[in-house]
Symmetry: C2
Subunit: 193 residues, 2 copies
DNA sequence: ACTCTCCCTTAATCTACATTAACAATTCCC
DNA sequence: GGGAATTGTTAATGTAGATTAAGGGAGAGT
């Protein structure tokens, strides 16, 4: 099993000893998820945190009319979780599924707790991940408060340059908070034909 | 100086020894902020994290037309910060000011770093705070994606029951993402007169 | 090679919420 | 205590983006 991608991610924040690496990787589960297959369904409790090494996941919520609204994409190198459900064991509001065939590692919450109690370095790693996520959500919220649809689209292009090419337009529309019809119109009327 | 409110907050997550308490409180700065006075101005670097003991702060961003959009209120017992600016030393996008005369403690980022390096317990505390904040922002985002203005208002009432009584309506409007005119109309047409 | 499903586009109509403006009621500060 | 600033309300008009509907094209599985 090739743990390099996830170990590289951890190494961005903390430097592990060989012992810590072995202990950490012993908790990792490998999983392959097919296109449209769920990693988490809303209503279930989220018991794991996932790290994508290949492919792409998305988390999304469903409104009362059945419309899907994407909260996050997770291409390789990204973590994904319904944090409230993980912390409180409430049923998740988010669905997490695969946009294309995806490979990932996951860690179960009890294993993560044990890891952090035994080695404070993982406490530190978890803190930094959560702080970064918090900063990202703060700014996403600010963007949604003060930018219009076109500005949010430009933002998306600089945030996920790789995804903009591979993702169906309707997924981008769902992330930036407009209908696919409106995004299509927006992109085709800006350019002078 | 009465450190009880902030020590109680820490005690929700970790149990400090007397030594740790003393070390922690030695880093705390007390500050009183008058109504409308800034704790942080957008453009400046956010170098501290604040904990409110009395009164109420708000963080907000300003759009290109000068409109203010509230990200968060911080009544007593809440922390408030522009996390990206704190982490990266980029200029803050958020303004933080006082809605009414407010008392708070703050810790400077370098002191917090030292504290966390010396006592892993504060690493743990920081992780838990950040994880909770992340969970809250995830769900705020979901709410904004799938709820309409009236539903967001109801949500606000259950989230901040104390604030709904004391806060000017225009601040509530700014938080839930509508104009004060629209909120006024919404509240006065639901009730049959 | 051929369905079938998904995806993109165009266009007409619709609606939740914004904007502007004007006025009354509060609250604050000197 | 009084003038100024802030707040809440109503109503007319404006608009970004939603909804509905319909047609065409491209990929994927058999």
């Amino acid at each position: 099993m090739d743990y390099a991608p996830i170990l590289n991610n951890v190494a961005k924040y903390v430097t592990l000893t060989e012992e810590e690496e072995i202990y950490f990787t012993s908790f990792l589960h490998y999983k392959k998820v097919k296109r449209k297959q769920y990693l988490l369904e809303a209503g279930d409790v989220n018991t794991k945190i996932a790290f994508v090494t290949n492919g792409c996941l998305r988390s999304y919520a469903v409104d009362k009319n059945g419309g899907e609204h994407v909260l996050q994409f997770a291409p390789p190198g990204w973590w994904i979780v319904d944090m409230r459900s993980l912390l409180t064991h409430e049923p998740a509001r988010l669905n997490i599924d695969a946009i294309e065939e995806t490979e990932l590692f996951y860690i179960l919450k009890p294993d993560l707790d044990a890891l952090q109690l035994k080695y404070p370095k993982f406490e530190r790693f978890g803190r930094m991940l959560a702080e970064n996520a918090m900063a990202t959500y703060q700014h996403r919220q600010i963007d949604n408060m003060i930018l219009n649809a076109m500005e949010r689209y430009s933002n998306f292009c600089t945030l996920y340059p790789s995804l903009i090419l591979s993702l169906p337009q309707k997924q981008v529309a769902s992330y930036i908070g407009v209908t696919p019809e409106f995004l299509s119109k927006m992109l085709n009327t800006v350019v002078i034909k």
